[in-house]
Amino acid sequence: MLSVSNLHASVDGKAILKGLSLDVPAGEVHAIMGPNGAGKSTLSYVLTGRDGYEVTGGSASLDGEDLLALAPDQRAARGVFLSFQYPLEIPGVPALTFIRTALNAQRRARGEAEITAPEFLKLARVKSADLKIDFEMLKRALNVGFSGGEKKRMEILQMAMLSPRFLILDETDSGLDIDALRIVSDGVNALRSPERAMLVITHYQRLLDYIKPDRVHVLAGGRIVASGGPELAHELEANGYERYEQAA
């Protein structure tokens, strides 16, 4: 699925990723943990192609296709989805309009037929009910005036409706209370499948009690400095990142 090799990237001329390598096979959920400033969000933006994140070396591919050569929307059409740490407010665009425009753009890019309005509304009703989102809320401008928890739920709703293959969750637990965390995690877990893979970026172990990873990696100083099973997350929670920061 995702294969990242010796990736170097810089922002404003400052090196952030310094030789990061990572393989996430289909069907698996990998967690990336690390201290603030380690490059966690940079990794998510480099993988999705944000302007200003310059790749200076290495490679990243999805099922053998070079991701770094593709525009952000082409990556999305191939199934890469990023759940943003801070979802954007889109004034004037109802959530339904935004999601439908995105879904149809992806479908067109893949050479598929556009979704019809009734099909789309049916899908939106089912998926929003799963996530306990009031359907009326989808008629409002996306994320405008939404609480932190509502914005995160809206990210998972988009994820559920766009049905991506490779999911990146960037600090999805921040700003969520326990109830919302459970709803969001259930939504994410429902998408686990042998054809999909996930990269869960988080600062705290808490989220990983709900979304159980197959592998845990420690990102420090722009590289993966340790990898292990789910027990590594507990070890980090107990002992902190200091040891790894020194190693980096």
Binding site: G92, F98, T101, A102, A105, A141
Partner: protein, 340 residues
């Protein structure tokens, strides 16, 4: 100094120039070196944009006379007013609109030119006590035309006047509205949209004078400029001495989508009363890069993300149009220009 007197007297020395403070961004004297010959009478070409929405369509082609619009007290009407310029001549048109006490009027006004004409249209709009008028102006001038529309609006007590001007510019285009606001519960809403491409120039100028207590004015103008286009917004609110408890809010926001486009804005509040609530906001900038990336991460192409966000930006103004049919016409017109 006005385009109207220059056309009437056939004297370019009477054209407003950049030396006139009010016209410094819409210089006509520097542009029009020789006034064209007077326009010949002509028939309007195709249908107007609002014909289907009004039982009463009045057309002035090349300065042809229009019967004054008179709505008797208590009546309700929708009138389409078309100002059509055919050919490259110069002409003047004028019309009076009088709305009686408690009457309601939807005024659907359009400017349609097809060549390098030079024209001024002058309107005098008078609302009696309690009258309600919604004026929607669609200015779709030719890229080579020079067009000035000048409307003088006088509100009676408790009257409501809601105006939305939508314009795509011309060689020089100015849409000026002056409102005499008596306060006394009268409500004024002045909105505007300009969508400019290539070398288009559009100027929306408003002057609102509050003369009595308890007046409300709300203004919102939004523009999108690209290529080498130039948008001008001049909004002035005057609150006379004694016009206490006036509530006036003015907003102007523009998106500049290319390095060579330009927006000039001058919001002005002139307040001589003590007890008032007045505010203005003005922003000129580019599309939010973070929002663009967000939309692209979800699968929209650069072009699609830009047009979605731009339409949403303008949509805030268009959504305020009260007349359903007119709102649909304007919505489609905006979408066509932004996607084109």
């Amino acid at each position: 100094m006005s385009l109207a007197s220059a056309i009437r007297d056939r004297d370019v020395a009477e054209l407003p120039s950049k030396r006139d403070e009010d016209w410094r961004w819409t210089d006509l004297r520097g542009l029009v070196r020789v006034l064209p010959e007077p326009s010949r009478p002509a028939n309007p070409s195709s249908a107007g944009p609002f014909d289907a929405l009004a039982g009463d369509v009045r057309v002035s082609t090349n300065g042809g006379t229009v019967t004054p619009v008179v709505i008797a007290a208590g009546e309700t009407a929708a009138v389409a007013l078309r100002f059509v310029s055919r050919g490259a001549g110069a002409h003047l048109a004028a019309v009076d609109v009088t709305v009686g006490a408690g009457a309601r009027l939807v005024l659907l006004e359009s400017y349609e030119s097809d060549e390098a004409s030079v024209a001024q249209v002058s309107l005098a709009i008078t609302l009696a006590s309690g009258a309600i008028v919604e004026r929607i102006v669609l200015a779709q001038d030719d890229a080579e035309a020079v067009c000035v529309s000048y409307a003088q609006v006088v509100l009676g007590p408790s009257a409501k006047f809601h105006q939305t001007i939508v314009a795509c510019g011309a060689r020089r285009q100015r849409l000026e509205t002056r409102v005499l606001h008596p306060g006394g519960g009268a409500e004024l809403r002045l909105d505007g949209v300009y969508l400019l491409a290539n070398k288009a120039h559009s100027d929306q100028t408003t002057v609102v004078t509050h003369t009595g207590t308890d007046g409300l004015t709300v203004q919102l103008t939004k523009g999108v400029v690209r290529d080498q286009a130039r948008g001008v917004f001049q909004g002035k609110i005057v609150v006379d001495e004694g016009a206490d408890r006036t509530d006036a809010r003015m907003g102007h926001h523009a998106l500049i989508l290319s390095d060579r486009a330009e927006v000039d804005a001058k919001p002005e509040l002139e307040i001589y009363a003590d007890d008032v609530a007045c505010a203005h906001g003005n922003t000129v900038g580019a599309l939010d890069e973070d929002a663009l990336f967000y939309a692209r991460q979800r699968g929209m192409s650069q072009a699609e993300a830009r047009s979605l966000l731009t339409e949403a930006f303008i949509g805030e103004v268009v959504d305020h149009i009260g007349h359903d049919g007119a709102r649909e016409v304007v919505c489609a017109w905006v979408a066509e220009r932004l996607r084109g």
